[in-house]
Every structure is written in C-alpha cells, then in structure tokens.
Chain length 353, copies 2
C-alpha cells in the first residue's frame, strides 16, 4: 500500500500488515477489561460490572495541530494519546483502551514511526491504557493521527458539562497559559532558524513551558483526588481551546452565567516572564491560550471545605444565575465581558497595540 520508491527497504517492503505488526508486536494487554487487542476485525472489551463506557476521539493533522520541524515523534505520539485521555478524565472516568489510526506519507521513515509508537505506548503504560486496535494507511501529504479513547465509570460518577448551578465554585487544576507560551517560543525560534540556519535555538531556562506544549500530562491525579475527597463536580471539561472558551461551554450547556477573577488565575512565574518577554499579557494568554489540558470544573459550595487546601486546584470564580452573562473581573476591579477568542485573537490584538 505504501509507495515510497526512494526507500524500497522501508515502509513499502513491510506493507500495511507488516507495518501494523511491526509497530504493535510488542503490545501486551494489561487492562483487565481488554479481551482482544490488535489482530482481528475489532477489539473486544469486557466492561466492568455496572459501569458505563465513555468514548472520545481526536484527529491531529500535520501543519494544523503539529509542526514536525520542532516536534519530536516520541513527544507527538505521547501527546496524541494524552490529549484523548484528558477528555476521558474530563468525564470523571478512567481510560482503559485506545485505538490509533495513522495516515503516513512516504517522507516518514520507519524509525520515525517507531518513535511515534514508542511515545504512544509510553503514555499507555503510564496511564494504564491498552492500545487495542487501529488502522495504518498511506497519505499523499503529511501525517494524520486519529485516536479514539475508551474509558469507564459508574453512572453516578460521570460528570457532564451541563450540571453547573448558581453559586457553584469554578475551579481549575494546575496552571494556565504555559502551553501557549511554549508554542510561541518554538515558533519564534523556528522563524529565527529559518532566517539564519547558523543560529541554533536556545531553549535553556524555558523547560517548563516547552514541556507544557510538547508533552502535556492529563490530570489523572485530579480524578483520583475527587474519589479520595468524596467530591463529585457538578460540571467538568478539559481545557484544550482556552479557559474562556471552556467556561462558556459549561455555562451555555448548564444555562447559567459566571464571574471569573483575574487575580485568581493560576499562572506559573515562567509563563508570566515568557509572556512579558514577548509583550503578551499573561492573563490573556491564560484565558485564551489553550492546550493546557487542565481540568475546569464546578463544585457545589458545600464541597469547598474538602477542596480548599488542595494546592493543585485554584478557585477562580463562581457560577451565577445570569444565563448568558460571562463576567471577567480584572485586577483593577473592572468588569469585562468574557469571550471565547482563541489564540488567534491574542496575537492579533497584541499586534495591533
């Protein structure tokens, strides 16, 4: 199926089945719910008793979601899996299996694909998930990765986006804006390199924001914390497109409004300094940057005592009964309207200033 004439010993000679076998031969199923993995018409899963199944899928396209100039294949594989697991955790469920489909152009070597799968299997191992199936095909242009993740939870544990109620506290795990600053840094160095290939990028001191962009970790620990503390969030979503956008998703689906406070936004000092270095407003980056893969959730007031000492959680605002009214209170106590701008808007705005 692959037709790389320049590289006959590589992908072409293995063929589609050979390639799948080659990439998946080392997989051993570990999750007790995985009955049958790669190698039949479908994978077979035995759901745990009384559990519901969650299914989520994401497609990553070269040139749109990732740039192979600065994305190592192993990191790419790791991230492709973790962004899907993040969606499973956002349902308050535990991921159990993934399937992986890839379309590969002939410019990609078998070694690169091996690294991609190494990254995917590392994420599977860390988060207790089995890779149980998929599809491998050729592409006329670029690499496309489509991953479907399956998870499970008891019916009463599952958290939707539509359960936020008036006076609920709005909480977020970890810190925000770092992944976006990592991306800006990579793009800046790429541009410098393109203009003068003799200048090697210098990333020293920026490890944290680069890692936030290239190797995000889904918040398994937060889901476990909920179980330990006996907290059931009223609504939850993971932050892939930016805090503003996700808060508005929760409010829209719950039929409520919100107030978010700028001085409560959790932002890492390195995110702040990197943003300032690039003449960007750190709060705007935190609100609209995206790709943080933190969990945004609401809890009822009565759970406040349980969660207030948790350092990994910041309470950033509360839910109001004003349906459709999304308030952002800035450090100067000015009230702004919160809008889902996305990162294009950040850069455009800064550009205009």
């Amino acid at each position: 199926m692959f037709e790389d004439k320049n590289n006959p010993k590589e992908i072409e000679n293995l063929g589609e089945f050979g390639l799948i076998n080659h990439l998946t031969s080392q997989i051993k199923l570990k999750n007790p719910t995985s009955v049958k993995g790669v190698g039949d018409d479908a994978a077979v899963i035995a759901p745990s008793k009384n559990k519901q199944i969650v299914v989520t899928t994401d497609m990553l396209v070269e040139g749109i979601h990732f740039d192979l100039i600065y994305t190592p294949f192993k990191h790419l594989g790791y991230k492709a899996v973790t962004v899907n697991l993040s969606d499973v955790y956002a349902m308050n469920a535990v991921p159990t299996q993934i399937t992986v489909s890839i379309a590969v152009s002939n410019k990609i070597s078998i070694e690169a694909l091996e690294e991609l799968y190494e990254g995917m299997l590392l994420a599977c191992e860390i988060y207790g998930v089995d890779l149980v199936g998929g599809d491998t095909t050729s592409s006329n242009s670029g690499l496309i990765i489509s991953i479907t993740a399956v998870g499970e939870a008891e019916k009463k544990e599952i958290v939707y986006r539509n359960g936020a109620k008036e006076n609920d506290l709005i909480c977020v795990s970890g810190d925000l804006g770092g992944a976006f600053m990592g991306l800006q840094l990579l793009e800046r160095e790429k541009q410098i390199f393109n203009e003068n290939p003799a200048i090697q990028p210098d990333f020293s001191g920026y490890d944290y924001v680069l890692e936030r962009q290239l190797k995000p970790e889904p918040r398994q620990d937060v889901i476990e914390m909920f179980k330990e503390l006996g907290v059931q969030p009223t609504a939850m979503i993971d932050i892939s497109d930016g805090l503003s956008s996700e808060v508005i998703h929760i409010c829209t689906q719950s039929g409520v409004g919100c107030t978010i406070y700028e001085d409560k936004l959790p932002i890492d000092p390195l995110t702040v300094s990197t943003a300032e270095e690039m003449n960007l407003n750190p709060s705007v980056c935190a609100l609209n940057g995206g790709e943080d893969y933190e969990l945004l959730f609401t809890i009822s007031l009565e759970d406040y005592e349980k969660i207030k000492e948790q350092k990994r959680v910041a309470i950033i605002g509360h839910i109001t009964s004003d349906k459709g009214k999304y308030e952002f209170v800035s450090n100067g106590d000015t009230v702004h309207e919160l809008t889902a701008q996305g990162w294009n808007a950040i850069l455009k705005k800064e550009d205009e200033n």
Copy 2:
C-alpha cells in the same frame, strides 16, 4: 480554525464548533445504549447487561481510498460508515454507535459536507446505529475521514479469526469481485473523460458493479441468519482486501490450511461479463479484488444441514490440517497455491499477458 480566504461565508465563518453543530444538530439518539452523544468531552454508552463491547476503526484518505472525481459525497459518507459496520458484523456483533472525525481542506464546500453527513446518517438509520461524537478539523490537503464503530454481543457469540478447525466448511456471503469491477469501470471512464472531456461516461447496464463499489452494504442479514439458524461460525472476517488475503488471515491465526474451489466461487454474471470485457479473469478478480465487504466464515460440518439451503451463502472449500498450505483448485482440477496478491497484482499480471 478553518482558513478559506476565498470562501469567507462558508466554513470559516461557522468555525469548528459551528460546523460540528451544523452537521450534527439533527441527530437524535435512537439506540437504547446511547446515553450521551455529541456535545461533551466524550460520548457515554450504557452497555447491555452481560454484553461485551467491540471497537473497530478505519481511516479513509482522499486519493488513496477514494477519488472525489467519481465518488458522490453522499455515497462516500454511506460507505465510510458501512465499511466500519462490516467489521462489527465480522465479530458476529451488533453495531450500536459510531464516532466520526474529518479533516477538511478549504476546497470542500459546506454543501458537500452536508451531503457527506447525510450519507453517514442514512447508513446509521438503516443499521440502527447512533453517531455519538467526533472531531472536525481543517486539512492542508484533501479530505480524511476516520470512523470508529462500537458494537456489542454476548461473550459466547463473538467470533474471532482464530477458531477454524480441520474439516470446517469455508463459506462466503453474497458474491465476489463486483466492487473491483465497479472500480475498474470508474477508472476507465475517468481516463476517457480526462483524454476527451466531451465524451460523457456511459454506465448504463453496469449498475450492480458500480453499486458494489460505491455503496457497499454490510451483511447485517447474515448475522441475523446465524441467530435464526442457531449457527455459531468457528471463525469469521469481512472481505475488504480480497478473498485470498482474508482466507489466509483465518488460516494463519487458526494454525490450519485450506482448500478453495474455483467452481464454487460466487460471482455475479455482470461481474463476469465486465471482467471479460476488460480482459480480466473473473476468478482472479473474485480472489483478489477486495472491497466486497462480504463475510467469510467457517462452520463445523455439523452445521452444514442448517446452512445448505441458504442462497445468500456459498460453500467454497474446507479447512485442512496442513498448517500454512493454502490450496486453490482451478476449474481444470489443477491445484495452485493461494497467495494474498491484492489487486495491484491482478492488473500487473493481466498487463504482462
């Protein structure tokens, strides 16, 4: 997310969320196991009591798996779904949900995407399946469709590829080679059209083979037949890559050999006449053509009486104990070795003759 500068009223203005909403707004969940569909971080499924879940995924890439020159979008959507359902039926399971991810270049209009989804939702309706989630993104080049299908069956009903035993009968549903002849016809007319756009393609009389290629139906009826007759196949696979290749998959995984008889191969008269018109051997097309999406299965001898009167099933050979020996007995009683050639080999061979 979409950046079609030439077509600002179209996809770009809707944005990713708008596009997903637009395409999925009419979906009503019908399958009793579907708890939550599009609109949250993940879909939620409540598996029926005591059932196992099967999961399968396929990726279709423009220019590799389909040619938009002669593939109507509605047919493409329909086929993208049915080829996945075929994999579910090949496990002797009943499909219940699908997720759909698409990457779309800016040359594709919203109307085209609507037709694509119309075809997908038609297939969902006919086969009792819900579209419960997915992802929509932009692509720098071409259309990519990645579908994951979920199904369920009791543990004891599920049929794997590895259960074929010596003396089992090898059976196939429907007829073979038609989809391949349909493809050859479309490719021939495309070439004529490219050479002289004034000549309009004439497909009259070829309906059956064209439909086999453009709008394949998965064999739900065969799975229902098994239940009615009380037949449990010992091994099963769907024919996507060609009979030879699939027989060999069953034999390899079951650790057995096989004998297939040319005079037992079910081939439609139109497939025969179209093949002859193109100087192709109909049996070779049936063996290696692929994309028929028929079911290939083995049954134990004691089920012969139950199945022998079924017109939709042909018994084409039997399983032997000669592991790794795959025999094809031609009409002249000559014994050939069966190999998984794929359709490239057919065309090359005919070309050399």
